[in-house]
């Protein structure tokens, strides 16, 4: 059996009197992607921020590679959290954005150059190395953002609706790129989206957050069978145009 890279046990989070997450249990296998579905305000982003260490849970435990990380600073978790916006540093060009994590780790200059150029080649953007963020398109910015995250080889990647701001064509291309990257670089990731189709396309398995509760499905078939997932309703909707 494949080992879990991430385990969350009985996690609660409240803001004042409002309970945002209640008794959350989640597991993520190594080199797998779990899609997290949920409506706006359902607590998806809060959950990712807690895993990244940017928010703190009221109760519960988080394990990464079997070690509890609940009280460890975000800097020491080796978990990268990517926002919906690419958030490229505006004072750095594409090359330096990708090199950001390596420079923090004081990687030798020779290795930085080699690794960053390799990553830019891989992302299909070697000719954009000297461009600033405002000279890149939305899709290009998101590619650089992925490159910047993956070059430091994080244990876990948290993606908070990363393609939410892209047009449908670019979105589809980015989904394909991410699938390919996840496979080639053996990424473990939690992919948050409110788009049902995207959740199915991107995830090896799916979880759905509703009113602060998380229901995780072991595979896509189980997700399809669940009446609450909304997949059957979606299928029925499209069937009416076929019959």
């Amino acid at each position: 059996m494949m080992e879990n890279i991430l385990e969350i046990k009985n996690l609660d989070k409240t803001f004042g009197k409002e309970t945002v997450l209640k008794n959350i249990n989640l597991s993520l296998k190594k080199n797998a992607v779990v899609s997290l579905l949920g409506a706006s305000g359902s607590g998806k982003t809060t959950l990712l921020k807690i895993i990244a260490g940017l928010e703190h849970q009221n109760n519960g435990e988080i394990f990464l590679n079997g070690k509890e990380i609940s009280n460890i600073k975000p800097q020491r978790r080796n978990i990268v959290y990517l926002y919906q916006e690419a958030l490229l540093f505006p004072h750095l060009n594409a090359f330096e954005n990708v090199a950001f994590g390596l420079r923090l780790r004081k990687t030798p200059e020779k290795d930085v150059k080699q690794k960053v150029m390799q990553m830019l080649e891989y992302l299909g953007m070697p000719n954009h190395a000297t461009k600033m963020a405002n000279q890149l398109s939305g899709g290009q910015r998101q590619r650089i953002s992925f490159g910047r995250a993956m070059i430091i080889e994080p244990s876990l990647l948290l993606l908070d609706e990363p393609f939410g701001a892209l047009d449908s064509t670019t979105r589809q291309k980015m989904q394909e790129l991410f699938k390919e990257l996840a496979k080639t670089m053996q990424l473990s990731a939690l992919f948050v989206t409110h788009d049902l189709k995207e959740a199915i396309v991107m995830g090896d398995s799916i979880g759905k957050i509703m009113k602060g509760h998380l229901k995780q499905h072991s595979d896509l078939r189980e997700f399809y069978e669940d009446e609450e997932s909304g997949v059957k309703k979606e299928v029925e909707f499209w069937k009416q145009f076929i019959n």
Binding site: A52, G53, L54, K73, P74, Q75, R76, R77, N78, I79, V80, Y81, L82, Y83, E85, L87, F89, P90, H91, F100, G101, R103, L104, R105, M132, A133, N134, R148, A149, I152
Partner: protein, 287 residues
Amino acid sequence: MPTPKLKNVSRFLFVAIVTVPVVSGMVYAALYSLGIIGILNTEISSKAWQTVFFGKPFWSAIGFSLYISVVSMAISLAVALLISIKWQKNLRDGLLGTAIYFPLCFPGTVMAFFSFQMLSKSGFVSRLGFNMGWIEDLRVFPSWIHDAYGIGIIFTSVLLITPFFIILFSNLFKTENIASFQHLAKTFGASNRQILWKVTLPILLKRASVTIYLFTIFIMGSYEVPLLLGRQDPQMISVAIIQKIQRFNLNDIPQGYAMSILYVLLILSVVILLFFRNKNFFKTSAV
């Protein structure tokens, strides 16, 4: 989008209100400095220009103005960054967010008098020091007003511009989404020190760079504060020019105009240099 007619009206207004007066003033100053017009001028001469260009007073005034401006800006930026980063929450939600606008109501002259009352040999700080037993006599108190290092001018300039930069940085903190960049950098493993030096400061300073350059020029050309708190030598450039133009010796007037043109040309050269180094520099939407 403005219609072509509205565009033409806007252009006309810009030329009428901005270009014509400035160019007219420059032409008048040039003609006066070259002896073509002016009550005591009798012939065309470059004597005023030679005196200004090869003499010490103009360049020492430029040097002193640059020194005052750079030091004032450095202190203001350091204080403004410290306050806007450390007290972000208070500036956003607390009383400080409103109170910070208060110092902007003071004109330069009032602030200069305030500094005089505070820092002169017979001022508040001196008297406090005397009563506390730190100094034996008020005359022993160091010269911070009308002094050679322009301490009073720097102090007043800092008081005048720091609140403006606190407001600017505080607003940039929100509009540039600095908190998200800081969180992102944290998950990449950046320490608090690295976040400050590699993320927060570069983004804020890059975004504010045009304003910083403009304020540096603005302080270089300030008049009331150095007039009230500065001394005869060294002088700041605006005071030096006005003294040449308005002094009893009418023969000095061409020199005053030559100094003013030379000063404008120097500032213009710097602005053009900045523009050619980065053509997006003065566009507010550019990153």
